[in-house]
Symmetry: C2
Subunit: 283 residues, 2 copies
Protein backbone atom coordinates (compact mmCIF):
# COMPACT_ATOMS: atom_id res chain seq x y z
CA UNK A 1 0.00 0.00 0.00
CA UNK A 2 2.91 2.32 -0.67
CA UNK A 3 2.68 4.77 -3.55
CA UNK A 4 6.00 5.72 -5.03
CA UNK A 5 6.49 9.34 -5.97
CA UNK A 6 8.38 10.87 -8.84
CA UNK A 7 11.98 10.86 -7.62
CA UNK A 8 12.84 13.83 -9.84
CA UNK A 9 10.49 16.13 -7.95
CA UNK A 10 11.86 18.29 -5.15
CA UNK A 11 10.78 17.95 -1.56
CA UNK A 12 10.00 14.25 -1.48
CA UNK A 13 8.76 13.07 1.90
CA UNK A 14 7.38 9.82 3.28
CA UNK A 15 3.96 10.07 4.90
CA UNK A 16 2.51 7.47 7.25
CA UNK A 17 -1.18 7.10 8.04
CA UNK A 18 -1.44 5.24 11.33
CA UNK A 19 -4.73 4.08 12.81
CA UNK A 20 -6.12 1.67 15.37
CA UNK A 21 -8.80 0.89 12.80
CA UNK A 22 -8.94 0.98 8.99
CA UNK A 23 -6.92 4.13 8.45
CA UNK A 24 -9.63 5.67 6.26
CA UNK A 25 -10.12 8.67 8.55
CA UNK A 26 -6.39 9.33 8.90
CA UNK A 27 -6.03 9.10 5.11
CA UNK A 28 -8.97 11.40 4.43
CA UNK A 29 -7.74 14.04 6.83
CA UNK A 30 -4.06 13.74 6.00
CA UNK A 31 -4.61 13.97 2.27
CA UNK A 32 -6.77 17.05 2.65
CA UNK A 33 -3.78 18.71 4.26
CA UNK A 34 -1.19 17.39 1.81
CA UNK A 35 -3.06 18.79 -1.19
CA UNK A 36 -2.12 22.20 0.21
CA UNK A 37 1.56 21.50 -0.45
CA UNK A 38 1.71 20.95 -4.17
CA UNK A 39 5.40 21.53 -4.63
CA UNK A 40 6.12 18.45 -2.54
CA UNK A 41 5.83 14.86 -3.45
CA UNK A 42 4.69 12.34 -0.88
CA UNK A 43 5.25 8.59 -0.64
CA UNK A 44 2.21 7.37 1.25
CA UNK A 45 2.06 4.33 3.50
CA UNK A 46 -1.07 3.29 5.40
CA UNK A 47 -0.66 1.22 8.57
CA UNK A 48 -4.12 0.15 9.79
CA UNK A 49 -5.19 -1.84 12.87
CA UNK A 50 -2.34 -0.61 15.11
CA UNK A 51 -4.19 -1.51 18.28
CA UNK A 52 -1.55 -2.68 20.73
CA UNK A 53 1.59 -1.30 22.33
CA UNK A 54 3.69 -3.87 20.47
CA UNK A 55 2.27 -2.86 17.10
CA UNK A 56 2.74 0.83 17.95
CA UNK A 57 6.39 0.22 18.89
CA UNK A 58 6.91 -1.65 15.63
CA UNK A 59 5.52 1.36 13.72
CA UNK A 60 7.82 3.74 15.62
CA UNK A 61 10.80 1.59 14.66
CA UNK A 62 9.71 1.59 11.04
CA UNK A 63 9.29 5.38 10.97
CA UNK A 64 12.69 5.88 12.60
CA UNK A 65 14.29 3.58 10.03
CA UNK A 66 12.78 5.58 7.16
CA UNK A 67 13.97 8.84 8.78
CA UNK A 68 17.50 7.49 9.05
CA UNK A 69 17.50 6.11 5.51
CA UNK A 70 16.07 9.21 3.83
CA UNK A 71 17.74 11.83 6.03
CA UNK A 72 14.32 13.50 6.37
CA UNK A 73 11.67 13.12 9.05
CA UNK A 74 8.53 11.41 7.79
CA UNK A 75 5.14 13.00 8.43
CA UNK A 76 2.79 10.88 10.49
CA UNK A 77 -0.97 11.42 10.50
CA UNK A 78 -2.59 9.30 13.13
CA UNK A 79 -6.00 8.53 14.58
CA UNK A 80 -5.10 6.62 17.72
CA UNK A 81 -7.85 6.91 20.25
CA UNK A 82 -5.97 5.46 23.23
CA UNK A 83 -3.61 7.78 25.08
CA UNK A 84 -1.30 4.87 25.76
CA UNK A 85 -0.76 4.13 22.06
CA UNK A 86 -0.26 7.78 21.17
CA UNK A 87 2.26 7.99 24.01
CA UNK A 88 4.52 5.46 22.28
CA UNK A 89 5.18 8.03 19.54
CA UNK A 90 6.59 10.64 21.94
CA UNK A 91 10.18 10.32 20.73
CA UNK A 92 9.55 9.32 17.11
CA UNK A 93 11.78 10.79 14.38
CA UNK A 94 8.90 12.38 12.52
CA UNK A 95 6.28 15.11 12.60
CA UNK A 96 3.56 13.32 14.53
CA UNK A 97 0.09 14.83 14.05
CA UNK A 98 -2.69 13.02 15.85
CA UNK A 99 -6.27 14.12 15.20
CA UNK A 100 -7.60 13.09 18.58
CA UNK A 101 -4.74 14.76 20.39
CA UNK A 102 -5.48 18.09 18.77
CA UNK A 103 -9.21 18.27 19.31
CA UNK A 104 -10.19 16.12 22.27
CA UNK A 105 -8.98 18.62 24.87
CA UNK A 106 -10.99 21.63 23.69
CA UNK A 107 -14.03 19.36 23.31
CA UNK A 108 -13.63 17.93 26.81
CA UNK A 109 -13.45 21.45 28.17
CA UNK A 110 -16.48 22.62 26.20
CA UNK A 111 -18.60 19.61 27.15
CA UNK A 112 -17.23 19.44 30.70
CA UNK A 113 -16.79 15.69 30.21
CA UNK A 114 -13.80 13.41 29.93
CA UNK A 115 -13.89 11.60 26.61
CA UNK A 116 -14.08 7.84 26.66
CA UNK A 117 -10.77 7.50 24.74
CA UNK A 118 -11.83 4.10 23.60
CA UNK A 119 -10.69 2.47 20.41
CA UNK A 120 -13.29 0.77 18.26
CA UNK A 121 -15.83 3.47 18.64
CA UNK A 122 -14.24 6.15 16.55
CA UNK A 123 -15.70 5.40 13.17
CA UNK A 124 -19.25 4.99 14.20
CA UNK A 125 -20.55 2.71 11.42
CA UNK A 126 -20.52 -0.52 13.36
CA UNK A 127 -24.21 -0.70 14.16
CA UNK A 128 -26.12 -3.27 12.19
CA UNK A 129 -29.08 -0.96 11.49
CA UNK A 130 -26.89 1.34 9.44
CA UNK A 131 -25.30 -1.66 7.69
CA UNK A 132 -28.73 -3.07 6.81
CA UNK A 133 -29.87 0.27 5.44
CA UNK A 134 -26.81 0.53 3.23
CA UNK A 135 -27.22 -3.03 1.96
CA UNK A 136 -30.92 -2.48 1.28
CA UNK A 137 -30.10 0.76 -0.55
CA UNK A 138 -27.40 -0.98 -2.61
CA UNK A 139 -29.88 -3.70 -3.59
CA UNK A 140 -32.35 -0.99 -4.54
CA UNK A 141 -29.79 0.81 -6.71
CA UNK A 142 -28.88 -2.44 -8.48
CA UNK A 143 -32.54 -3.39 -9.07
CA UNK A 144 -33.38 0.07 -10.41
CA UNK A 145 -30.33 0.75 -12.46
CA UNK A 146 -31.31 0.88 -16.10
CA UNK A 147 -34.88 2.12 -16.34
CA UNK A 148 -36.21 -1.28 -17.41
CA UNK A 149 -38.09 -1.58 -14.14
CA UNK A 150 -39.96 1.34 -12.66
CA UNK A 151 -42.30 -0.37 -10.18
CA UNK A 152 -40.16 0.73 -7.21
CA UNK A 153 -39.99 4.42 -8.13
CA UNK A 154 -42.60 5.17 -5.46
CA UNK A 155 -40.10 4.10 -2.81
CA UNK A 156 -37.13 5.97 -4.27
CA UNK A 157 -35.65 9.00 -2.52
CA UNK A 158 -34.29 10.28 -5.80
CA UNK A 159 -34.36 9.23 -9.47
CA UNK A 160 -31.35 10.31 -11.51
CA UNK A 161 -31.91 10.95 -15.20
CA UNK A 162 -29.40 11.66 -17.92
CA UNK A 163 -27.81 10.31 -21.08
CA UNK A 164 -25.76 7.11 -21.20
CA UNK A 165 -22.42 7.46 -19.31
CA UNK A 166 -23.25 10.73 -17.57
CA UNK A 167 -22.44 9.16 -14.19
CA UNK A 168 -25.85 7.88 -13.04
CA UNK A 169 -24.91 4.35 -11.95
CA UNK A 170 -21.83 5.14 -9.83
CA UNK A 171 -23.66 8.07 -8.24
CA UNK A 172 -26.65 5.89 -7.31
CA UNK A 173 -24.35 3.24 -5.86
CA UNK A 174 -22.38 5.82 -3.90
CA UNK A 175 -25.57 7.37 -2.51
CA UNK A 176 -26.59 3.89 -1.39
CA UNK A 177 -23.28 2.70 0.05
CA UNK A 178 -22.31 5.93 1.77
CA UNK A 179 -25.66 7.35 2.82
CA UNK A 180 -28.22 4.54 2.65
CA UNK A 181 -30.27 6.66 0.22
CA UNK A 182 -32.63 4.87 -2.19
CA UNK A 183 -31.53 6.07 -5.61
CA UNK A 184 -32.91 4.81 -8.93
CA UNK A 185 -31.71 5.85 -12.34
CA UNK A 186 -33.39 6.23 -15.68
CA UNK A 187 -31.39 6.60 -18.90
CA UNK A 188 -32.99 8.99 -21.40
CA UNK A 189 -33.45 7.23 -24.73
CA UNK A 190 -32.93 8.79 -28.11
CA UNK A 191 -36.67 8.91 -28.77
CA UNK A 192 -37.32 10.67 -25.52
CA UNK A 193 -34.58 13.17 -26.22
CA UNK A 194 -35.94 13.79 -29.71
CA UNK A 195 -39.50 14.43 -28.52
CA UNK A 196 -38.36 16.75 -25.74
CA UNK A 197 -41.15 15.35 -23.55
CA UNK A 198 -40.66 13.87 -20.14
CA UNK A 199 -41.22 10.08 -20.35
CA UNK A 200 -44.76 9.27 -19.13
CA UNK A 201 -43.47 6.79 -16.60
CA UNK A 202 -41.55 9.59 -14.86
CA UNK A 203 -44.50 12.02 -14.69
CA UNK A 204 -45.80 10.88 -11.27
CA UNK A 205 -42.28 11.15 -9.82
CA UNK A 206 -41.32 14.61 -11.08
CA UNK A 207 -40.46 15.88 -7.60
CA UNK A 208 -37.84 13.15 -7.23
CA UNK A 209 -36.03 13.71 -10.50
CA UNK A 210 -32.48 14.98 -10.58
CA UNK A 211 -30.55 15.48 -13.81
CA UNK A 212 -26.92 14.72 -14.56
CA UNK A 213 -25.17 16.53 -17.32
CA UNK A 214 -21.58 16.54 -18.56
CA UNK A 215 -19.48 18.34 -21.17
CA UNK A 216 -19.60 16.94 -24.71
CA UNK A 217 -15.80 16.51 -24.84
CA UNK A 218 -15.67 14.55 -21.60
CA UNK A 219 -18.67 12.38 -22.51
CA UNK A 220 -17.14 11.54 -25.86
CA UNK A 221 -13.89 10.58 -24.16
CA UNK A 222 -15.74 8.30 -21.70
CA UNK A 223 -17.86 6.68 -24.41
CA UNK A 224 -14.84 6.09 -26.62
CA UNK A 225 -13.24 4.06 -23.87
CA UNK A 226 -16.30 1.86 -23.95
CA UNK A 227 -16.89 1.72 -27.71
CA UNK A 228 -14.07 3.30 -29.68
CA UNK A 229 -15.97 3.59 -32.98
CA UNK A 230 -19.52 4.19 -34.15
CA UNK A 231 -22.29 6.67 -33.65
CA UNK A 232 -22.46 6.16 -29.84
CA UNK A 233 -19.20 8.02 -29.30
CA UNK A 234 -19.38 10.42 -32.26
CA UNK A 235 -19.20 14.16 -31.57
CA UNK A 236 -22.56 14.85 -33.26
CA UNK A 237 -24.42 12.15 -31.35
CA UNK A 238 -22.98 13.18 -28.01
CA UNK A 239 -23.86 16.84 -28.63
CA UNK A 240 -27.37 15.97 -29.81
CA UNK A 241 -28.07 13.88 -26.70
CA UNK A 242 -26.68 16.43 -24.26
CA UNK A 243 -28.58 19.30 -25.89
CA UNK A 244 -31.78 17.25 -25.63
CA UNK A 245 -31.23 16.32 -21.98
CA UNK A 246 -30.42 19.87 -20.95
CA UNK A 247 -33.49 21.21 -22.79
CA UNK A 248 -35.63 18.67 -20.94
CA UNK A 249 -34.16 19.64 -17.56
CA UNK A 250 -34.87 23.32 -18.30
CA UNK A 251 -38.39 22.75 -19.62
CA UNK A 252 -39.47 20.69 -16.61
CA UNK A 253 -37.36 22.65 -14.11
CA UNK A 254 -35.47 19.55 -13.06
CA UNK A 255 -32.46 20.45 -10.89
CA UNK A 256 -29.21 19.17 -12.30
CA UNK A 257 -25.52 18.88 -11.66
CA UNK A 258 -22.64 18.97 -14.14
CA UNK A 259 -20.45 15.91 -13.50
CA UNK A 260 -17.63 16.95 -15.85
CA UNK A 261 -14.92 17.68 -13.32
CA UNK A 262 -16.24 16.70 -9.94
CA UNK A 263 -15.70 13.57 -7.89
CA UNK A 264 -18.44 11.03 -7.21
CA UNK A 265 -18.49 12.18 -3.56
CA UNK A 266 -19.12 15.72 -4.64
CA UNK A 267 -21.88 14.81 -7.12
CA UNK A 268 -23.59 12.85 -4.33
CA UNK A 269 -23.17 15.65 -1.83
CA UNK A 270 -24.55 18.24 -4.26
CA UNK A 271 -27.61 16.09 -4.92
CA UNK A 272 -28.29 15.63 -1.20
CA UNK A 273 -27.81 19.35 -0.57
CA UNK A 274 -29.97 20.27 -3.56
CA UNK A 275 -32.86 17.99 -2.64
CA UNK A 276 -32.74 18.09 1.16
CA UNK A 277 -32.82 14.27 1.26
CA UNK A 278 -31.79 13.05 4.67
CA UNK A 279 -28.56 11.07 4.87
CA UNK A 280 -29.79 7.82 6.38
CA UNK A 281 -26.33 6.68 7.36
CA UNK A 282 -22.96 8.36 7.37
CA UNK A 283 -19.88 7.65 5.31
Amino acid sequence: MSQKSDPGKAGRRTVFFVSDQTGVTAETLGRSLLTQFEAHDFDQVTLPFIDSVDKADEVVRRINAVAAEEGRRPIVFSTLVQDELRGRFAGVSGLFLDFFDAFLSPLEQELQTRSSHTAGRAHGMNDSGAYDQRIAATDFALRNDDGSRTADYGEADVILIGVSRSGKTPTCLYLALAYGVLAANYPLSEDELESGMLPKILEPHRAKLYGLTISAERLQQIRRERRPAGRYSSAEQVRFELRGAEALFRRYQIPCVDTTSVSIEEIASRILTGTGIERRTRP
Copy 2:
Protein backbone atom coordinates in the same frame (compact mmCIF):
# COMPACT_ATOMS: atom_id res chain seq x y z
CA MET B 1 -29.77 17.48 6.71
CA SER B 2 -30.38 17.96 10.40
CA GLN B 3 -30.66 14.91 12.66
CA LYS B 4 -32.79 15.47 15.74
CA SER B 5 -31.60 13.97 18.98
CA ASP B 6 -33.54 12.45 21.82
CA PRO B 7 -34.64 15.47 23.87
CA GLY B 8 -34.77 13.39 27.05
CA LYS B 9 -31.04 12.77 26.97
CA ALA B 10 -28.74 15.01 28.97
CA GLY B 11 -26.12 17.22 27.36
CA ARG B 12 -27.79 17.92 24.05
CA ARG B 13 -25.68 20.09 21.78
CA THR B 14 -25.98 21.32 18.20
CA VAL B 15 -23.03 20.50 15.97
CA PHE B 16 -22.28 22.21 12.66
CA PHE B 17 -20.05 20.79 9.95
CA VAL B 18 -18.95 23.72 7.79
CA SER B 19 -16.97 23.28 4.59
CA ASP B 20 -16.06 25.14 1.42
CA GLN B 21 -16.68 21.86 -0.37
CA THR B 22 -18.91 18.84 0.30
CA GLY B 23 -18.46 18.68 4.06
CA VAL B 24 -17.42 15.02 3.97
CA THR B 25 -14.01 15.70 5.53
CA ALA B 26 -15.49 17.91 8.27
CA GLU B 27 -18.09 15.22 9.00
CA THR B 28 -15.45 12.48 9.10
CA LEU B 29 -13.31 14.41 11.53
CA GLY B 30 -16.15 15.68 13.69
CA ARG B 31 -17.95 12.37 14.03
CA SER B 32 -14.77 10.51 14.94
CA LEU B 33 -14.39 12.94 17.81
CA LEU B 34 -18.04 12.99 18.87
CA THR B 35 -18.16 9.20 19.28
CA GLN B 36 -15.80 9.78 22.22
CA PHE B 37 -18.54 11.63 24.11
CA GLU B 38 -21.27 9.06 24.43
CA ALA B 39 -23.15 10.68 27.28
CA HIS B 40 -24.00 13.60 25.02
CA ASP B 41 -26.49 13.81 22.26
CA PHE B 42 -25.72 15.84 19.17
CA ASP B 43 -28.02 17.46 16.62
CA GLN B 44 -25.93 17.49 13.47
CA VAL B 45 -26.19 20.03 10.66
CA THR B 46 -23.94 19.96 7.58
CA LEU B 47 -23.40 23.22 5.69
CA PRO B 48 -21.44 22.47 2.52
CA PHE B 49 -20.12 24.80 -0.21
CA ILE B 50 -19.50 27.78 2.10
CA ASP B 51 -17.09 29.40 -0.30
CA SER B 52 -17.63 33.16 0.02
CA VAL B 53 -17.50 35.78 2.74
CA ASP B 54 -21.26 36.33 2.43
CA LYS B 55 -22.02 32.65 2.92
CA ALA B 56 -19.60 32.48 5.87
CA ASP B 57 -21.29 35.47 7.52
CA GLU B 58 -24.68 33.84 7.00
CA VAL B 59 -23.38 30.68 8.76
CA VAL B 60 -22.03 32.75 11.66
CA ARG B 61 -25.45 34.39 12.08
CA ARG B 62 -27.11 30.99 12.04
CA ILE B 63 -24.77 29.58 14.68
CA ASN B 64 -25.23 32.63 16.88
CA ALA B 65 -29.02 32.28 16.58
CA VAL B 66 -28.84 28.62 17.68
CA ALA B 67 -26.58 29.57 20.60
CA ALA B 68 -29.06 32.23 21.74
CA GLU B 69 -32.07 29.94 21.29
CA GLU B 70 -30.57 26.92 23.07
CA GLY B 71 -28.56 28.78 25.69
CA ARG B 72 -25.59 26.57 24.78
CA ARG B 73 -22.74 27.19 22.37
CA PRO B 74 -22.84 24.94 19.33
CA ILE B 75 -19.75 22.99 18.32
CA VAL B 76 -18.43 23.84 14.87
CA PHE B 77 -16.14 21.51 12.92
CA SER B 78 -14.88 23.26 9.84
CA THR B 79 -12.66 22.62 6.86
CA LEU B 80 -12.28 26.09 5.40
CA VAL B 81 -9.08 26.37 3.45
CA GLN B 82 -9.07 30.14 2.96
CA ASP B 83 -7.80 32.23 5.88
CA GLU B 84 -10.29 34.95 4.99
CA LEU B 85 -13.28 32.66 5.45
CA ARG B 86 -12.01 31.18 8.71
CA GLY B 87 -11.44 34.73 9.91
CA ARG B 88 -15.19 35.45 9.73
CA PHE B 89 -15.73 32.97 12.58
CA ALA B 90 -13.47 34.84 15.02
CA GLY B 91 -16.30 36.09 17.24
CA VAL B 92 -18.80 33.24 16.73
CA SER B 93 -20.82 31.99 19.73
CA GLY B 94 -19.55 28.46 19.48
CA LEU B 95 -16.53 26.21 19.90
CA PHE B 96 -14.91 26.64 16.49
CA LEU B 97 -12.51 23.83 15.56
CA ASP B 98 -10.98 24.23 12.13
CA PHE B 99 -8.98 21.40 10.83
CA PHE B 100 -6.68 23.45 8.57
CA ASP B 101 -6.10 25.97 11.32
CA ALA B 102 -4.82 23.25 13.62
CA PHE B 103 -2.54 21.39 11.27
CA LEU B 104 -1.34 23.68 8.49
CA SER B 105 1.14 25.57 10.66
CA PRO B 106 3.14 22.58 11.92
CA LEU B 107 3.17 21.20 8.37
CA GLU B 108 4.35 24.51 6.92
CA GLN B 109 7.15 24.60 9.44
CA GLU B 110 8.16 21.00 8.81
CA LEU B 111 8.10 21.39 5.03
CA GLN B 112 9.53 24.90 5.12
CA THR B 113 6.85 25.93 2.64
CA ARG B 114 3.80 28.14 2.84
CA SER B 115 0.69 26.12 2.00
CA SER B 116 -1.33 27.18 -0.99
CA HIS B 117 -4.43 27.81 1.17
CA THR B 118 -6.59 27.37 -1.84
CA ALA B 119 -10.13 26.10 -1.79
CA GLY B 120 -11.11 23.50 -4.34
CA ARG B 121 -7.96 21.52 -3.96
CA ALA B 122 -8.53 20.08 -0.54
CA HIS B 123 -10.31 16.89 -1.42
CA GLY B 124 -8.05 15.76 -4.13
CA MET B 125 -10.36 13.54 -6.19
CA ASN B 126 -10.99 15.98 -9.00
CA ASP B 127 -8.65 14.49 -11.53
CA SER B 128 -10.34 12.69 -14.35
CA GLY B 129 -7.89 9.77 -14.33
CA ALA B 130 -9.01 8.74 -10.86
CA TYR B 131 -12.65 9.22 -11.85
CA ASP B 132 -12.20 7.01 -14.91
CA GLN B 133 -10.53 4.31 -12.84
CA ARG B 134 -13.40 4.28 -10.35
CA ILE B 135 -16.02 4.14 -13.12
CA ALA B 136 -14.16 1.35 -14.90
CA ALA B 137 -13.88 -0.56 -11.62
CA THR B 138 -17.60 -0.05 -10.89
CA ASP B 139 -18.47 -1.40 -14.34
CA PHE B 140 -16.18 -4.35 -13.68
CA ALA B 141 -17.86 -5.08 -10.34
CA LEU B 142 -21.32 -4.93 -11.93
CA ARG B 143 -20.30 -7.18 -14.84
CA ASN B 144 -18.72 -9.74 -12.50
CA ASP B 145 -21.24 -9.76 -9.71
CA ASP B 146 -22.90 -13.13 -9.64
CA GLY B 147 -20.46 -15.72 -10.90
CA SER B 148 -22.37 -16.27 -14.12
CA ARG B 149 -19.51 -14.77 -16.07
CA THR B 150 -15.90 -15.62 -15.28
CA ALA B 151 -14.11 -14.55 -18.48
CA ASP B 152 -12.76 -11.40 -16.81
CA TYR B 153 -11.30 -13.09 -13.73
CA GLY B 154 -7.83 -12.80 -15.23
CA GLU B 155 -8.10 -9.02 -14.97
CA ALA B 156 -9.50 -8.99 -11.42
CA ASP B 157 -7.45 -7.71 -8.49
CA VAL B 158 -9.48 -9.83 -6.11
CA ILE B 159 -12.35 -12.36 -6.33
CA LEU B 160 -14.59 -12.50 -3.27
CA ILE B 161 -16.23 -15.82 -2.50
CA GLY B 162 -18.86 -16.65 0.08
CA VAL B 163 -22.44 -17.75 0.58
CA SER B 164 -25.44 -15.69 -0.53
CA ARG B 165 -25.81 -12.46 1.49
CA SER B 166 -22.43 -12.59 3.16
CA GLY B 167 -21.66 -9.07 1.88
CA LYS B 168 -19.87 -9.79 -1.40
CA THR B 169 -21.70 -7.34 -3.68
CA PRO B 170 -21.55 -4.20 -1.52
CA THR B 171 -17.91 -4.91 -0.71
CA CYS B 172 -16.99 -5.26 -4.40
CA LEU B 173 -18.83 -2.05 -5.22
CA TYR B 174 -17.16 -0.19 -2.37
CA LEU B 175 -13.71 -1.45 -3.42
CA ALA B 176 -14.48 -0.11 -6.91
CA LEU B 177 -16.00 3.24 -5.97
CA ALA B 178 -13.58 4.12 -3.20
CA TYR B 179 -10.33 2.58 -4.41
CA GLY B 180 -10.69 1.83 -8.12
CA VAL B 181 -9.93 -1.82 -7.38
CA LEU B 182 -11.20 -4.50 -9.80
CA ALA B 183 -13.24 -6.84 -7.61
CA ALA B 184 -15.31 -9.77 -8.88
CA ASN B 185 -17.49 -11.98 -6.73
CA TYR B 186 -18.46 -15.61 -6.93
CA PRO B 187 -21.31 -17.05 -4.84
CA LEU B 188 -20.66 -20.58 -3.60
CA SER B 189 -23.49 -22.86 -4.67
CA GLU B 190 -25.00 -25.61 -2.57
CA ASP B 191 -23.36 -28.31 -4.70
CA GLU B 192 -19.98 -26.70 -4.33
CA LEU B 193 -20.44 -26.43 -0.58
CA GLU B 194 -21.51 -30.05 -0.38
CA SER B 195 -18.55 -31.37 -2.33
CA GLY B 196 -16.09 -29.28 -0.33
CA MET B 197 -14.05 -28.82 -3.51
CA LEU B 198 -13.02 -25.48 -4.92
CA PRO B 199 -15.02 -24.83 -8.11
CA LYS B 200 -12.87 -25.69 -11.15
CA ILE B 201 -13.40 -22.25 -12.66
CA LEU B 202 -11.71 -20.68 -9.63
CA GLU B 203 -8.68 -22.98 -9.67
CA PRO B 204 -6.48 -20.79 -11.93
CA HIS B 205 -7.28 -17.74 -9.75
CA ARG B 206 -6.58 -19.18 -6.32
CA ALA B 207 -4.14 -16.44 -5.38
CA LYS B 208 -6.86 -13.81 -5.90
CA LEU B 209 -9.53 -15.45 -3.77
CA TYR B 210 -10.73 -13.84 -0.56
CA GLY B 211 -13.48 -15.33 1.55
CA LEU B 212 -16.30 -13.60 3.37
CA THR B 213 -17.91 -15.24 6.34
CA ILE B 214 -20.56 -14.12 8.80
CA SER B 215 -22.27 -15.45 11.93
CA ALA B 216 -25.23 -17.81 11.41
CA GLU B 217 -27.58 -15.58 13.46
CA ARG B 218 -26.73 -12.46 11.50
CA LEU B 219 -26.97 -14.24 8.14
CA GLN B 220 -30.35 -15.65 9.04
CA GLN B 221 -31.56 -12.19 10.02
CA ILE B 222 -30.35 -10.68 6.73
CA ARG B 223 -31.85 -13.49 4.63
CA ARG B 224 -35.18 -13.28 6.44
CA GLU B 225 -35.48 -9.63 5.44
CA ARG B 226 -35.17 -10.79 1.88
CA ARG B 227 -37.28 -13.97 2.04
CA PRO B 228 -39.10 -14.34 5.37
CA ALA B 229 -40.00 -18.02 4.93
CA GLY B 230 -38.50 -21.13 3.36
CA ARG B 231 -35.29 -23.08 3.45
CA TYR B 232 -33.12 -20.12 2.29
CA SER B 233 -33.44 -18.41 5.66
CA SER B 234 -33.79 -21.47 7.88
CA ALA B 235 -31.32 -21.98 10.71
CA GLU B 236 -30.19 -25.41 9.41
CA GLN B 237 -29.58 -24.21 5.87
CA VAL B 238 -27.66 -21.13 6.99
CA ARG B 239 -25.49 -23.21 9.31
CA PHE B 240 -24.87 -25.85 6.66
CA GLU B 241 -23.77 -23.27 4.11
CA LEU B 242 -21.50 -21.38 6.51
CA ARG B 243 -19.86 -24.57 7.76
CA GLY B 244 -19.20 -25.58 4.15
CA ALA B 245 -17.76 -22.22 3.18
CA GLU B 246 -15.48 -22.04 6.21
CA ALA B 247 -14.24 -25.59 5.62
CA LEU B 248 -13.44 -24.64 2.04
CA PHE B 249 -11.52 -21.53 3.11
CA ARG B 250 -9.51 -23.62 5.57
CA ARG B 251 -8.81 -26.46 3.18
CA TYR B 252 -7.53 -24.17 0.42
CA GLN B 253 -5.96 -21.65 2.82
CA ILE B 254 -8.07 -18.82 1.45
CA PRO B 255 -7.78 -15.71 3.66
CA CYS B 256 -11.13 -14.55 4.94
CA VAL B 257 -12.84 -11.84 6.92
CA ASP B 258 -15.87 -12.10 9.21
CA THR B 259 -18.39 -9.44 8.17
CA THR B 260 -20.74 -9.91 11.11
CA SER B 261 -20.19 -6.66 12.94
CA VAL B 262 -17.95 -4.54 10.78
CA SER B 263 -18.74 -1.73 8.39
CA ILE B 264 -18.33 -2.02 4.62
CA GLU B 265 -15.36 0.39 4.83
CA GLU B 266 -13.68 -1.88 7.33
CA ILE B 267 -14.29 -5.06 5.33
CA ALA B 268 -12.78 -3.34 2.28
CA SER B 269 -9.83 -2.04 4.25
CA ARG B 270 -9.13 -5.46 5.77
CA ILE B 271 -9.15 -7.07 2.35
CA LEU B 272 -6.72 -4.49 0.94
CA THR B 273 -4.46 -4.86 3.96
CA GLY B 274 -4.65 -8.65 3.81
CA THR B 275 -3.85 -8.91 0.13
CA GLY B 276 -1.50 -6.00 -0.37
CA ILE B 277 -3.58 -4.83 -3.35
CA GLU B 278 -2.68 -1.27 -4.23
CA ARG B 279 -5.39 1.34 -3.75
CA ARG B 280 -5.68 2.77 -7.23
CA THR B 281 -7.56 5.85 -6.13
CA ARG B 282 -8.39 7.31 -2.77
CA PRO B 283 -11.70 7.71 -0.99
